[in-house]
Symmetry: C2
Subunit: 308 residues, 2 copies
């Protein structure tokens, strides 16, 4: 199978590197020239607490991708989904399957402008990974991947992708109700990413006072209400227990949205809290805590984005 | 009239200095020893864009105030109201009138534990003033003071205080519906102080995007709803026009609540957004935007207050 990873930051590199190590034909695609050049010259380093692999894998800029892939895995930040697809549009054929396990909700609609829904696999992953520098990523522990076709039908290519991942040591499972997992991660991110970003504080600080924990519950409540009205049976208690685990295990973690603000980059808030606000509005009700966070983060973004 | 200013930071010093200049017997009371010592040794400097006065006025610690005053003007931060009154409790008699034009809502109930309601004058002021250092304050422009007795009855002492202020060059007026002015300032502060504090950005940054201005409107809307249900006829359009003026004229201003967070001090949020939340709860409804801001600020406070 010819595989292209569209957007090869931390997660794209991890997935691409593992798939390549397992003997697949993989190309990493990204707009970060230093990263690409380093990978092509020296290989991609993937390290974890117990080992360090150097993987020789080809990498290129979006415009330089030549071969139409059988599988595109899109791993850009959610906000760059559309521009990334535009860049590789000429290589998309009826044979191309696309997979997204990006954060948030709403990007599947963007992907469906470029791909037939029967060719789209969506899902969610808990693999943690971060960039240490060009051509160098680090992962702390193993995670899971849950996938399903966007149209909800079992298809051969879904089983193929599942097998592909597992044979590369990536723990994947086909999950018919994957939207539950997607929305539970969304609710978790809305609470922790949203709050840490506004507060510009790591995860553990939210846990210091009742007001912090209460606000988490309120944000999750709102997300649960939206999901339930969309007939997505997400579980408040399951989300809150993941939050509690994060409070214990990831005290000092600065979620990606907070890192974006600290580095003055555009955040994914439109696909996190913003998505909850949009879906609620479409259903005719309001989610004021998410909306307040959303607007605060839009103001924060505006202070640095418009200045540039 | 023997006057004691309880809490002589920027505003207390400005009011005290002006009253002293006009020939009154005034003592500044504060817990900041450097400030007191400097004033006693060198006088109090009050400067504005056109002049600089040095006023010889006595200042002391709360425990050192000897003479029972006829008028106490309380100018501590709202959160320190109760502890300040405790400190001077032994000097409060039936003859003592107390005046508060402090920020926020809710401290009048605290004062009413120490004073008969007929002896309390409350109100609001727009005088801007800040501390430049011990014994040194600066004001940029003139403001207004609006006052009324807490029980709503015209009394001799109300006219006396009004005359006292005006004869010291402080623009005061008796305003029978002063709670309207108090709540309009509260709504203004809830929006601008609350938002700038969470965002840790000056006033003008909120004005950069629709989301910022929309959130201001939402916060003001909620305050208006609370006030109106309490039969306080505050005007949304009047508040929003004051906000617009602040966006234009005070772009770079960091409101006191933000300054408190930047200096890791306890903020007045319990008497601003927190007061709106409490009053709404008492009336049986919710004000989610104010509540979200309130909780975020409580988390921010907790990060530095508990650590000390």
């Amino acid at each position: 199978m010819v595989i292209a990873i569209i957007g090869s930051g931390a997660m794209g590199s991890l997935f691409g590197g593992r798939l390549k190590s397992a003997g697949n034909n993989v190309t990493l695609v990204d707009v970060w020239e230093d990263h690409i050049q380093t990978i092509n010259n020296n290989g991609l380093i993937i390290e974890n607490p117990t080992k360090r692999d150097v993987i020789y894998i080809s990498a290129c800029l979006p415009g330089d991708l030549q071969k139409p892939p059988d599988l595109m895995i899109i791993f850009t930040k959610t906000i760059h989904t559309e521009s990334a697809l535009k860049d590789v549009q000429s290589l998309i054929s009826d044979q191309t399957t696309i997979l997204t396990v990006q954060n948030g909700v709403g990007h599947d609609r963007i992907i469906a402008r470029y791909f037939d829904r029967s060719k789209i696999i969506h899902g969610v992953t808990t693999y943690p990974c971060h960039i240490l520098g060009p051509g160098h990523v680090r992962t702390e522990e193993e995670g899971t991947i849950k996938i399903m076709t966007l149209d909800g039908r079992h298809r051969q290519m879904l089983s193929d992708v599942d097998r592909l991942f597992n044979s590369a040591g990536l723990n994947c499972e086909i999950t018919p109700d994957v939207t539950v997992a997607i929305w539970e991660k969304l609710a978790f991110n809305a609470a922790l990413n949203g709050m840490t970003t506004v507060l510009r504080l790591p995860v553990g600080e939210i846990d210091r006072v009742d007001d912090g924990r209460d606000l988490v519950k309120k944000i999750v409540d709102e997300a649960v209400e939206v999901a339930n009205r969309m007939d997505i049976a997400i579980s408040k208690s399951r989300i809150l227990s993941t939050v509690s685990m994060a409070f214990r295990a990831h005290k000092d973690h600065k979620p990606s949205m907070l890192q974006d603000v600290l580095s003055k980059r555009k955040t994914e808030v439109d696909f996190i809290n913003g998505a909850i606000v949009r879906e609620a509005k479409a259903l005719g009700f309001s989610v004021p805590a998410n909306e307040t966070l959303y607007r605060l983060i839009k103001v924060l973004e505006a202070t640095y984005l418009k200045k540039e």
